[in-house]
Symmetry: C2
Subunit: 367 residues, 2 copies
Amino acid sequence: MNGSANNHVDFTTVKNSRILSIQSHVAFGYVGGKAAVFPLQCLGYDVDAVNTVNFSNHAGYGRFGGSKTTADELSAMFESMEQNGLLLPSRLLTGYIPEAKALTAVSELATKLKRDSPDIIYLLDPVIGDSGRMYVSSDVVPVYRSMLPLASVITPNWFEVEVLTGVELHDLPSLQRALRILHQDYHVPHVVISSIPLKQWLLDVLPPNIKPSPSATEDSEFLLCISSSADGNGSQNLSTVHARSVPLIPGYFSGVGDLFSALLLGHFHPKQDPPSPHDTTLSYAASSALTKTHSILQITHEYALLLPEDERTPTDEEKDKAEPVRKFRRMRGRELRLIQGQDILRSTAIDELKQMKPWVDFWSTTA
Amino acid sequence: MNGSANNHVDFTTVKNSRILSIQSHVAFGYVGGKAAVFPLQCLGYDVDAVNTVNFSNHAGYGRFGGSKTTADELSAMFESMEQNGLLLPSRLLTGYIPEAKALTAVSELATKLKRDSPDIIYLLDPVIGDSGRMYVSSDVVPVYRSMLPLASVITPNWFEVEVLTGVELHDLPSLQRALRILHQDYHVPHVVISSIPLKQWLLDVLPPNIKPSPSATEDSEFLLCISSSADGNGSQNLSTVHARSVPLIPGYFSGVGDLFSALLLGHFHPKQDPPSPHDTTLSYAASSALTKTHSILQITHEYALLLPEDERTPTDEEKDKAEPVRKFRRMRGRELRLIQGQDILRSTAIDELKQMKPWVDFWSTTA
């Protein structure tokens, strides 16, 4: 990626574009709004930031101080913005909203915005949990289901797909079924499943243009990113599917999904044709978001490697329990290097795009 | 100012520099933290942002929703950060903290940080009011006075100087007296009085290198920015004083002081020699901050001029009362154009610096 001439914000694309971002705020570190707002500002968007929580740091540190914003406080903010003529977003981004009442207040706002401006681009990141574990209260799930028809794009991880659709992902038909539910039952035009571990069942069904080489999969674990666009593809398929496998960077990083979703929204331009007929608007935006997210992870990983040994081990639960400070230091060393990577975030022409590849026979393959 | 080659963040200066910024947050628009955090991030600083209020918008719109962060919530956040090993700032920035109890919590934190890291650079913006009107509760004033000895730099406007020192500024001796109180009684090494209207008494005492030309003062009102550095200047004077007059851009802009203070802190490098022997570290930082703030105001003003007539009149109280929406639109059109001016914020080499000029005989002049 180039940090010089290509580095200027493309104001012709984002001119006077406002994004209303509703998600968590932490004082220290980069998750939620702290992972999303600065990258979007670097891309030239005015970002109206409503904080659903105000915490000292993310929960990965074990302890945090601060408070959640109540549903009433959220509604009062939205109402004041409306009465002052400040509800002007052309795009809406929602992320971590941990309680059903607060999520309902956001849902009411999204409904209103969509009614007033049917063209609004709404990226809904249904933040529910990861790797089989929920980190919001379970009564948010039905609220998220009711909100799906409002969304232009959603960015669940594999676990969130399972929770939202009730389909366990373990083979191609189950993946097809889950996407069918999201597109057809919930009327979501664009779905990006941000990361699925590339297990054997998935490797077995991937077309050659997407599958990593056998030697690569021996050396490293991979994640798959899938995009599925249901609007206007003109074919008899339900959607146009793209995917790309990316090698997993070892260790746990927080805020990666929040960064990816923000960049996906920032690069999603449905009124422009994608640069190649092999792309959809969605797959091209996902390629850009994936490339930048990976570059930020790479510099974060490189930074973490320079730290003293205790601060860079991926994890070691027993030692952490004996010496909690060890855990804090390790988490701290893995905070995303967004500030140091701002040239990456700002670039509008990316040299080495990690391109999402067409999964041509996705819908015609049966297991 | 140049938006191309000079535009890269100087990581040798700010490498791994963290700023803990404690001030207001608004969802829409650019005041408090929204005016400070992005510019500092553009300069390459990691900014830990603690929000003292969470409002929908600034008070200038008349109505706002949201809540203030209580002193207990602030203390809980600081305590968690400390216990997690996240209280690592090399710089501290405090702004709008509207209640004495909350300010006391911040004062305790500042005391602790200063004790643990005597080299910490603390820019205290004593946000009290402007133009003779207070916009915080009056019991914050004694708390601010007690905090002054902790500060490296303070950035009061003329009204805040008067409130803090009890000296009414109306001639050179009163200005000398006020600065003497701040430097000697409160032990503040660096004072920047961000804006004083250039009234006749001030014009009369300004040296020729600072005074605007008589024809300029006929065409436009001017503000004076004064910097006064008391440390290590080696002369027998109490401090080294610089000043610059800047033409007033008509109309009311919110967040200008917050932006100026943030940029002053971001450009203040006491370990580097200033580029010319005529500068102090402080006057050079003030020159940079003044130049960038003025450029941002200029593009904001130019943007406001493109708006429909109702949205760009500076003010007209009677019409506002008859039609409140008119006021909202006007305020909205005057929100600082930080996002669109990010190349200005990022530049580390400024082509046309609005240089603060030495006020050589400041202390030897008597009225």
